[in-house]
């Protein structure tokens, strides 16, 4: 049964732009290979952390929202844990209210873009 998930992960700021893309691509490819359908990708870019993680005070945030089988999440999280470029990650299963909220946000963003 396809559930909807949302994963946010933080990458160390020391990486170059190209390494950043390559890390993100690695996880996206994994998801696509496992048959997940990516709904939204959102690059928050460099943001200041509320408290230092691994002695660093800034990090690259990246968000992926996707529909996937429950079984692939464990493997995904192992991959996150193993990759030392990722400082922190959080995977959340979305319930119906969360899905509705995200859709509304996407619709508003699209409308705003359409106006602009």
């Amino acid at each position: 049964m396809l559930n909807q998930y949302e994963t946010v992960f933080i990458m160390t700021p020391v990486l170059s732009e190209e390494q950043m893309k390559e890390t993100v691509k690695k996880f996206k490819d994994y998801l696509i290979k496992e048959g997940a359908e990516i709904v939204l990708e959102d690059n928050w870019a460099m943001r200041k952390l509320a408290y230092p993680i691994q002695k660093k005070s800034t990090g690259f945030y990246f968000l992926i929202e996707y529909k996937a089988e429950g079984s692939i999440i464990r493997e995904l999280e192992v991959a996150f844990k193993r990759d030392e470029r990722i400082m922190r990650f959080l995977t959340v299963k979305l319930d119906k209210h969360a899905i509705a909220y995200n859709e509304k946000k996407r619709r508003l963003a699209k409308e705003k873009k359409a106006e602009a």
Partner: protein, 89 residues
């Protein structure tokens, strides 16, 4: 002696804090999902030290207080919100 008591004149009447009815803002404004990713909304439920405000002050119902607490803990995990800190000062 009694005469001096009545001399005490209060400049302003003692403001007994009128008991305003607390309400759950989530039920009233029909918010169903509390996003853990936007900090400014979550900051309303946290005091200066960054601790979660209790229900008796915010007046939220149990169901939504649990959602707020979970969202704040997730935001803290992702370093969107501090665990402790003088944030609003």
């Amino acid at each position: 002696m009694a005469q001096s008591n009545s001399d005490i004149k209060y400049l302003t009447p003692i403001a007994v804090d009128t008991k305003k009815k607390k309400y759950c803002r989530f039920k009233k404004s029909r918010i169903k999902y509390i996003d853990y990713k936007d900090p400014n909304f979550l900051m309303k439920f946290v005091n200066e030290q960054g601790r979660i405000l209790p229900r008796r002050i915010t007046g939220t119902s149990t169901k939504y207080q649990k959602k707020v607490a979970q969202a704040i803990k997730r935001a803290r995990h992702l370093a969107i919100m501090p665990y402790v800190g003088d944030l609003l000062k």
